[in-house]
């Protein structure tokens, strides 16, 4: 893992005596895609807004590349490219003029850089048109372009695949992964699309009621030590007897066995030995959705 580029230290937000976000502390590393997950109202958006300076921090701090958002805002935010909720742009200006607005605010962004970024998000043909003529997907892509102009170290994206068609989502996912691999950017993604998060993220932080419930790698979350295997057999009751050693459940004509990977050969051997026909055996992997609901419904 690369070095830690974002540190949240005891981040807390209190509004009218209500603790919206409570004592969040974790690190995000260079080159990783970090997912922010949580039910509605958990405090994800508030946390993101605090990270980028849109909302004030009640207690704690966010450190970006060594600079504190609280005390050194301008230096810290220079390392961030962000889209919070939808990327709103000036509809009466062209895509190009919109990008120029942001380019002007930072030193050293050349025309070539702008063209490069426009090419990257696939808007070269439409960039001179007014944004009011753009489709939702195009606006999303222009929003991404505006994030990337100044080569930030950290990208913060709220629902980045919102409004994209499947091809667009795939492109976005590939592109974001490319950014982390080639440029070593850290990308923080907040999304409700669990299947997307599963495919895109390296680690996931789950937030509930303003508190951090857990930070785990995606693999860890999905693949636990002990898994459930589904075995399709010819004789269910006989199979049940054979597998009495394991925790077994019958569901819609299939046998669900709780076992570890090492147990599989033994299970098959036992069934074969008892003369029971086996038509198939597979892992019942829990999706992120199952795990997510499990964790947050505690």
């Amino acid at each position: 893992m690369g070095k830690s580029i974002v540190q949240m230290k005891g981040l807390t937000k209190v509004i009218k005596n209500k603790r919206i976000v409570s004592d969040l502390s974790f690190d995000i590393y260079e080159g990783e895609v970090f997912g922010f997950l949580g039910p509605n109202g958990a405090g994800k958006t508030t946390t993101i807004r605090m990270m980028v300076g849109l909302m004030s921090i009640t207690e704690g701090d966010v450190i970006i590349n060594g600079n504190s958002i609280k005390t050194d805002f301008e230096k810290a935010v220079a390392n961030i490219g962000a889209i919070v909720e939808n990327p709103e742009l000036y509809k009466f200006l062209s895509g190009y003029d919109n990008l120029m607005q942001y380019a002007r605010m930072v030193k050293g962004i050349t025309k070539e850089k702008i063209d490069e970024v426009v090419e990257l998000v696939g808007l070269t043909s439409a960039i001179r048109n007014k944004v009011k003529t753009y489709s939702l997907g195009m606006r999303q892509r222009l929003g991404l372009a505006q994030c990337l102009l100044h080569d930030p170290k950290v990208l913060i994206l709220d629902e980045p695949t919102n409004g994209l068609d499947p091809a667009g989502i795939r492109e976005m996912r590939d592109y974001l992964q490319k950014l982390t691999r080639e440029k070593g950017m850290a990308i923080i993604v907040s999304s409700h699309l669990l299947s997307e998060m599963e495919m895109m993220c390296d680690r996931i932080g789950i937030i509930q009621k303003g508190q951090l419930v857990g930070v785990q790698t995606v693999n860890e979350l999905i693949n636990e030590e002990s898994q459930t295997y589904i075995v399709e057999v010819s004789d269910i009751s006989a199979a049940q007897k054979v597998l009495s050693k394991y925790s077994v459940e019958i569901n819609e004509g299939d046998i669900y066995v709780q076992a570890s990977r090492e147990d599989v050969p033994e299970i098959i051997e036992k069934l074969v030995h008892a003369g029971i026909k086996i038509y198939g055996i597979k892992v019942n992997s829990k999706t992120l959705e199952d795990r997510f609901l499990e964790i947050t419904n505690v």
């Binding site: 849109l54 230096k75 889209i83 939808n86 709103e88 000036y90 009466f92 607005q101 605010m105």
Partner: protein
Amino acid sequence: MTMIKLIQNEWIKIIKRPGTLVMIALVIILVGVVGAFTKYSEGKSQQVTNDKWKQVLQQDTDSLKKDLKEASKNDPNRKFIEKNIAVNEYRIKHNIAPNEERNVWTFIDSTSDVIVLVGLFTIIIAANIVASEFNWGTIKLLLIRPYSRSEIILSKYLTSILFGLVFLAVLFCASLIIGLILFGPADGNPSYLAYVDGHVEEQSRLLYSAKLYLLSFIETFMLATMAFMVSTIFRNNTIAIGLSIFLLFMGNVITTIVATKYEWAKYILFANTNLMQYMDGAPLVEGMTMVFSCIVLICYLVVFLFLAFYVFSKRDVTA
């Protein structure tokens, strides 16, 4: 010089909106219309200079001198009367007729009334410049940049004032050009007779007109600042514009009424926005001076700007 870049950005956002061009076009067309009207109603109210003007003026002056004798020491009109006497006597002495033939300078002075419209549009721009970013949602992207909130809001304020000044200049130039085309330059070189420190001075017409425009702009400037502040605090341009328009048209009337009863009226903003009252007429409330008004105006300005900056800097953005 990042402030210049910020102002450049804000300027583009104002100019590239079709509404702005409509505003500018309207003002120029209005000047043209006023010009056409004035020109073609020439026959009706022709002011002819005839030889009798000296006599008329002398009669006027005599009657004014009588008024002066009868006026009490503290009558605020004293200064006004003294000024008229001095100017009249100067005219008689130097043979300067009081009524000019219509020319570009009279036209420019008459179109100074259009400054109200310029003021109105400037107020609208100032009220929109912050509130619209919130309405559009673009404020989020604007603030996630390496600038303090103070810098951002300062750039917006400066741009709206700059817009007002540029618009004023456009009005002046349009009046100048249309005036020259329709009425031609003045014969000879008529100067403006200013009453300075107890005696009469001849001043350049250009200077006088420029001063007139700039001073008329003060009311606009103060109201635009107020609109800017209100729209920043309430994040709503409608309240800001409504309030400002109301005050633009009613402010003076209300203040005058209050002034007849209470002395503290002199602290009201509108009692001090017309600095011409010290040059051409009588102060609204006794004891007011140019310096006093300037100080009052600066105080209002500081309060307005402080409020706007403070609120903008501290508030959470949830838009």
